[in-house]
Symmetry: C2
Amino acid sequence: MATMTAAQKREQAKAEYDAFLAACPSRKLLDRISDKWVTLVLAALGGDSARQRGADCGGEPRPMRYSELSRLLAGVSQKMLTQTLRSLERDGLITRTATPTVPVTVTYELTDLGLSLHQMMRGLKTWAEAHMDDVLANRATYDTRTA
Amino acid sequence: MATMTAAQKREQAKAEYDAFLAACPSRKLLDRISDKWVTLVLAALGGDSARQRGADCGGEPRPMRYSELSRLLAGVSQKMLTQTLRSLERDGLITRTATPTVPVTVTYELTDLGLSLHQMMRGLKTWAEAHMDDVLANRATYDTRTA
DNA sequence: CAGTATCCAGCTAGATACTG
DNA sequence: CAGTATCTAGCTGGATACTG
């Protein structure tokens, strides 16, 4: 067994670290918001979907219907849209309201928690707009330098 | 061709939207920071790696060596660590310094830009610590309700 | 309208082995 | 010490088809 000690130790350290990561709130948050469609749905419901609107881009948060979201987020598959909406509902970030008309009408709306998250995303957006140009410039420089 | 018009329109809309997304700074930022190892390297170099330290968790940003990072981020493969470091260097978020000792000594350090990003990540962390508990609670409730 | 169900291709993380 | 190179398995997202 003596020969396995090092490998075992490494494995244990890895397991511990994985556990630490799994418990880390920041990690969980990132896992949540790093999803492409999550951010887009949040932006749409928060009134920040830059698309299909004039230069103002101003928008109040407002409820939207499934089909409306589907149209706004061109390119999302039904599977992903539904999956995303479900997970957001599960986490209490949006609410789902089904009105029993014929055919049924379903609307989605940000909760206070979802709104809070959306506000934080604005912070991200601010940083991105202020600094991503620098990042991209550095990237371009690096690429030409090593080309 | 008349039968393809609808499909074509949809495809075009998708292409346009994809282009819009590709140009969006926020999206680019998220693509960058949503990587597991990126955030961990940033945290490590920024002095925020919660692991292996007492309750204080305070830490000044400081340069670290490859092997040091490798040890701190237990579970990272050499491939991913190198890949992550290279991409961060490419984006001008960290600097790589090789000292020609024998054997070579390589240190990585946050740039001002990287530091700025690290600071923003603190904002994320704050939100996560303030609200992720709510999210998790909602999730648990949802699961029991639908079980 | 608002989904569900199924299947499959592509990408990527990780394991492994080797090196200046 | 600080990497590079290669191969593969698993997950995830998308296309497609069907339904209350």
